[in-house]
Symmetry: D2
Subunit: 324 residues, 4 copies
């Protein structure tokens, strides 16, 4: 039985990756794609490698009033652009919002699927985590759940590939400007901070008041690494064991005793987590790696859609990462 | 029904990509992986993102005398290393040699699958084309088949990503040395020249004596573009039409009226071809793009294996390219 | 004695590189910088590493009517934007136009300084060659001057780093779109073709009617390589010898018997040329490498300014390339 | 008057950059270059863009017993390779060791030239800081000197381009393996930690026992960024002011109120430092950027050589960074 899905924001990187995953998904059928600049084009005009079956789908101008009958709608719109419009989507359409407008908003489940699958399954409105929170929270969840670290004293040094800045952007993301350049930004005020603080508090039951988060743009297309400095008296092995227990049976999180590299995840829905601790100094370093467009966006969104549709979580998501 | 396959040369880039494709293939089951340096490791130790079902497969030391029962063997060995060993593989094992030792060698079919599928289907020994020939011949075949260009007057200016130079190589392929560097090499004497000349002669029935081939290393990981300068009095539209006729119904070759870009093919088995002609100057420019590890190596190998196993050519190869 | 110079188009890549070179030039003093978007900013606000002596220079809005007293003006404006404005620059100000509006235009010397220094020295209006012509013509000049190749049968396959596309450009030059991508463009109709044809005719005395030129965008910031396919019955050694004779005593052209790599030239005013010939096939491959912002733009411009100011050509240009 | 200098380790990245800087230095004359693999070659054979005056210098096999008369020797040898050999260099030759063997070793001054110039001027043996310490300590020095942060509670998250891993290295630094990959390594045990701890203690007078240092390999050739998390109750402005006071009159450290980017420093001897503080959380983030081969190696070495030779610190080091 085919599940009818649509994508809004098809010409962005997140929407394009959702298209790629849906094209190979055995139960999802893409029947609707909408965008702004690309409205009126065929999918083939925007994606040279789109499968034949989708080549002639014409990109609609996004308007919730003219949606066809859909089971699931993936929304990948710029921050601020989705709240009003998604409110007008019929109730019976399940919505996964890849954008940032509905995280920790009433009526929307927070779609950190590897950690809270049971809070997602029966919902119809899912807010996908941001790419930085996806990498960070996946690494921290086992430590917070077992009380191995203090929730109030966490420093996140995060690094992202440039597709994380979105498409068609500013000339400051031009190739010549960005290549061979490493750029810290958004110090002390990045938009992902409240989301992470709330999730840390939900995971730990404590306050995340001391949270520090510094993102960096790295000259690569895809990939997020969060290197997270925490306080707690524990050992590397205890952290690894906690993570192995926490993610036992969970298909997309891999616990590794080597520091994870971003390229391990490219093109996949995997998250890789690892830890290094020094009990003499009350120091725990947690590391999380995801593909910002995979587990950090479209992969997680498909996993969430699988959950709300009653499918196996891994449906359509079992591709091996692309390497090298 | 599961087809038992093996890979020799698993730790190289071509072998690794074959593993990735086979892992998602609905009819192939990877039961054997062999290598040199990696012998004794589990697949998981070499490929952090290998599927669970393959994680514990132990890499064997390559020895044709100790092969398990196999239906298909993929060989991805350095040039010169496969001739003797593959001769000792039992006759009933179908062999696809991704390496260069058996191209246009007696007893081996030349596996340019998009062009000559019927010469491959009933064979048991298939020599996969090189990555440069794959891009070049796919673009030239329609023109040569219809006599639109002279076979004896072809200049191939080819560009490849650095994974084409193989793995673990020379320090001249180090990141710091290769990044921001564009390098022509092998002028007038590249190892792929005789292969291309023979294929051009088979396609055209004429002599390819004037063939010129200049490869370049481009600072990117994957991708091959061949820009090919030919002589013939024809038009751009006639070339595009010839290609559309030639590849009608063929699933992996896309004829495009825009110059093709390497990133269109990344991670896929697609080839993109396009043309620009100026009849006033007897000039035809043909362009071919492939992923050197996809259609230029492992993708084509799986397509060949599908053919010799009687499967649909697209089985396990319908993934959409990874973009961006 | 200090020579007062100005730069128009300071915020573009060419203007910025001119600033870098002038800042280290022992005889030039930068007293004027003009731009559009950047007008009103201090140089320090745009170039974090500008020398202290230039840090507080305020970028003017470009208007030839308000020029201060200058000896030399470097203009680096988009094509089409400089013709009218430069006509209003006072006669006694020497002008080097890095942009494309005055190449092979009456009253303007063509500033291919390594080849025609004597046609530049006494002039007051110099049109700098484009980056592709700089690489191409430097490689071809010795062969054309000695009649070793036919001027009417030349195929130029050229590759450039992305800074060659100019700054602040289109989102198609974004990092995520351009990285890992190789893009042919402008087939049969690139704007540099007439310039190259005219220069080839001046060098050879023959017609360049058959000229073919295909540019490619390469995922790197700087560098141009032209791989040029010519017809002529000669040898590699004869070509190398012709080039060594032609450039004897010329400080910026290096003749090499290995294929030149773009990184050899980064940050410098060098051009590297090499050749491979096969007399049995009447084939000559010429190769030329420059930094598109060095010899392909600002380096050549400073060399031209040195010539018109009566300075040694190498003044301020003797920096060793940056490697790696 | 010319000062006779030599370089040992000329074929490494640090030695090559020293050659580049010395070639343009008005007082230094390179009379000796030594290496291992490259011994017997002319400099021109290794560096295509070497100035004419140095082109024919033959690389010697490194042997302290056969040194010519030298005023200054730059040593850029792998860690562990220089201690014994440099002990045999005559006392009257001033030595700047770019390698790691003599940092905080008796008889050797620690060459953090922007911070401690007076401890360097009269010395004959200078141990150049590592690239990570150069970026880190330059950022921290003003805060430690004024007691704005606690020396015992410092977390350094450092990122380096791949040339920092040295040349000719492991295949794990191959282009295909390293491109699009971000790699944390050396957790809790990197070789630069004791050096940084000692310098922090010298700067602060307190213990650096809690120091945490995590390096990351970034897919770019050059550049180091240290993002440093400290504890102290102060403001961003107070930190910036402290740095402006500390570096008043110092030519190579630029204090900026924007987060510094690695590309600002490329090819130069600059260090860029900035700060962000939140007094409500006792949090100070310090950032330092250098070119790992400039201020992080050869640039700092030339600055140290200038100091010990009684030259102005900026001699030969006033080049503007290469951008883009």
């Amino acid at each position: 039985m085919s599940i009818r899905v649509g994508i809004v924001g098809i010409s962005g990187f997140g929407g394009g990756e959702a298209m790629r995953l849906i094209a190979s998904h055995p139960s999802f059928e893409l029947v609707y794609a909408a965008g702004e600049a690309s409205a009126g084009s065929r999918l083939m005009d925007r994606f040279s490698g789109v499968p034949d079956k989708l080549a002639d789908l014409v990109i609609a101008r996004w308007d919730p009033a003219t949606l066809p009958k859909l089971d699931v709608l993936f929304a990948s719109l710029p921050t601020g652009a989705s709240a009003e419009a998604l409110a007008r989507v019929p109730e019976d359409v399940k919505v996964v919002d890849i954008g940032g407008d509905h995280r920790f908003v009433g009526g929307w489940a927070y779609g950190l699927a590897d950690v809270w699958p049971d809070q997602i399954r029966d919902q119809r409105r899912i807010a996908n985590p941001g790419c930085f929170p996806a990498a960070t929270l996946t690494a921290l969840a086992p430590l917070l759940a077992e009380g191995l670290i203090e929730p109030g004293n966490i420093v996140i040094d995060a690094k992202t590939g440039i597709s994380g800045a979105g498409r068609g952007g500013d000339s400051k993301f031009g190739y010549a400007e960005s290549n061979e350049n490493l750029v810290p930004y958004g110090l002390l005020r990045h938009v992902h901070m409240p989301e992470m603080a709330k999730a840390i508090e939900r995971l730990s039951g404590g306050s995340a008041a001391g949270l520090v988060f510094t993102p960096h743009l790295v000259p690569m297309t895809r990939g997020v690494l969060a290197t997270i400095y925490c306080r707690g008296r524990t050992t590397t092995d205890a952290c690894l064991d906690a993570a192995r227990r926490f993610y036992a049976g969970r298909p997309f999180v891999r616990v590794t005793d080597k520091p994870p590299q971003t390229k391990w995840a490219t093109g996949s829905n995997f998250a890789f987590v690892s830890y290094a601790a020094d009990p003499e100094r009350d120091l725990v370093i947690a590391m999380g790696v995801v593909d910002n467009l995979g587990k950090g966006a479209a992969g997680q969104a498909v996993q969430n859609a699988n959950l709300v549709c009653g499918l196996a979580e891994t449906t359509g998501l079992d591709g091996t990462p692309v390497w090298p």
